[in-house]
Amino acid sequence: MTRSFREKLIRKAFFGFAAVSIIFLLLIILFLFREALPTFQFVSIGRFIFGMEWYPTYEPPEFGIWPLIVGSLVVTSFSTLIAVPLGVLSAIYISEIAPPAVKEILKPAIELLAGLPSVVLGFFGMVVLAPWLQDTFDLPTGLNIVNASIMLAVMAIPTISSISEDALYSVPREFKEASYALGATRHETIVKVIVPAALSGISTAVILGMARAIGETMVVLMVAGGAAAVPESIFDSVRPMPASIAAEMGEAPFRSNHYHALFATGVVLLVLTLAFNFIADYVSHKFRETGSATL
């Protein structure tokens, strides 16, 4: 075996290993569809997605996941409203304002926040936030949209903050210097020069944060309340898709209609999160800043 042949072989082998991620992704899609497709023998796609009733264990059962989709979208939107300002502003603080000593503490702190297990956040929402919300607003239950949105925001903030910070950090130094040289204040430089220059990175951060929130399971399973109905107020309980899957899969008889319908719900969830990821990928490539040379 010649040396160059062996080198080629090694190269090919490494390529094979690198392709493993794609193979896993395809396997995930394949095996989800395998169990999901039988759903559409007993309910049409339209009725499944837009059906207003989710009563999988009734007789006759109803398999409409619209309330679950709405539940997911509602908690994701509200958590985004909370997480985006906090995440982006903290990124600005870390990258532009914080003294080095504070930065040294705050950056690892945000990493640790990202590392908190979701079941612990769900537990915290159950035992602390829920009773507080119930007492303060005089509600029948503290397990509702507000609670889930706050706890999901805690999960999404580290994602948004760290990706935004990378984007702000990579804005070329010359931009800042030019702005100061024109007599702009620090505030004006940050708001009118640095943030716009990092906007594509910040947008990517926001989209990935939303993807994180919509796919998160344990928090919504434990604190969203679990009512499979389209909510009318922010203090209503909801049953987002991941919560429904996690709560019911244990009880659904193997390969029953219910079992297949939960897999189909998983497919909808997967499609939504992959869409978020593709948009994020597109935004970060399409609008990538390539440094001062682009101006």
Binding site: F24, L106, E111, S118, M222, L274
Partner: protein, 289 residues
């Protein structure tokens, strides 16, 4: 005050700076508050018996030893599978790949895999490992599911570690007539090893805290028996917290056990994360180049 005057501009700046500081403070307070609360409420429940004994009286008393062991098995299994795959992927991307559609495709694959919701991993593990390959609900099925979940984390940090090895090292080696593979295996990988290990430690932390992926693939509600083979079900810390907090008959009564289990899980996960962060900053400072 006239708009646009210097005073006005500095006033706006002052307000802005405070808003930003307050945002950072809220996040720090959220982390501190959660940790403090779990610690204060959990520390009373945690003692030697709690860590070394199985649950008693239909999980209203006793300890969490089987759940700790289960989490350790699941996590180590996941890292043992994910690390070789992740490191070889990273070596390809960092050392061999030339930019082109193939690499772009692989990157999209890795990013998408990183974005798959944890409960979907659970469904996938159930469908492929538990049912199709007939592993049953077991350590093997749970570990493999978690391995795929942490693969993108491990690839990402291994790639970063490889990229941090200076280009001059590779050039010097190649200039001596050393082959590409020998350069990679004898020069690049050893220098990147600490960084790669750090990434794998972060993977451990991630895998240990996940609940949804193991719910249908590995986690047992209750078992006092320690696993005898990789085909046995195990208890796991995150699932144990969920079960105690939501499905028990005496949820209020077992609160101390719930806090205690949450504290042990947090200590495990954050301990591992903290170790990785400390090692990483140590490496960065110690770097000889």
């Amino acid at each position: 005050m006239r708009q646009g005057s210097m005073k006005w501009r500095y006033l706006k700046q002052g307000i802005f700076l405070w808003v930003v500081r307050i945002a950072a403070l809220i996040i720090a307070a959220a982390l501190g508050g959660i940790l403090f609360f779990i610690f204060v409420n959990g520390i009373g429940a945690v003692d030697w018996t709690f860590l070394t004994e199985p649950p008693r009286d239909s999980m209203t008393a006793g300890g969490i030893m089987p759940a700790i062991i289960g989490t350790v098995y699941l996590t180590l299994g996941a890292v043992l599978v994910a690390m070789p795959l992740g490191v070889t992927s990273a070596v390809y991307l960092s050392e061999y790949a030339r930019s082109g559609p193939a690499v772009r495709f692989i990157r999209i694959g890795i990013n998408s895999l990183a974005g798959v919701p944890s409960v979907v991993f659970g469904l996938f593990g159930l469908s492929l490992f538990v049912v199709y390959l007939d592993f049953g609900s077991s350590i093997l099925a749970g570990s493999l599911t978690l391995a795929i979940l942490i693969l993108p984390t491990i690839i990402g940090s291994a790639e970063e570690a490889l990229k941090a090895v200076p280009q001059t090292f590779r050039e010097a080696s190649l200039a001596l007539g050393v082959s590409k593979w020998q350069t990679v295996s004898r020069i690049v990988l050893p220098n990147a090893l600490p960084g790669i290990l750090t990434g794998s430690i972060l993977g451990i932390g991630r895998a240990a805290g996940e609940t949804a992926p193991i719910m249908f693939t590995a986690a047992a509600f209750f078992t006092t028996r320690l696993p005898g083979s990789v085909f046995d079900e195990v208890m796991a810390l995150p699932y144990h917290i969920y079960v105690l907090a939501t499905a028990g008959t005496r949820i209020e009564e077992t609160r101390p056990l719930q806090y205690g289990t949450a504290l042990v899980l947090i200590a495990l996960v954050l301990g591992v994360d903290l170790a990785a962060i400390v090692i990483r900053s140590y490496i960065r400072r110690k770097k000889r180049w």
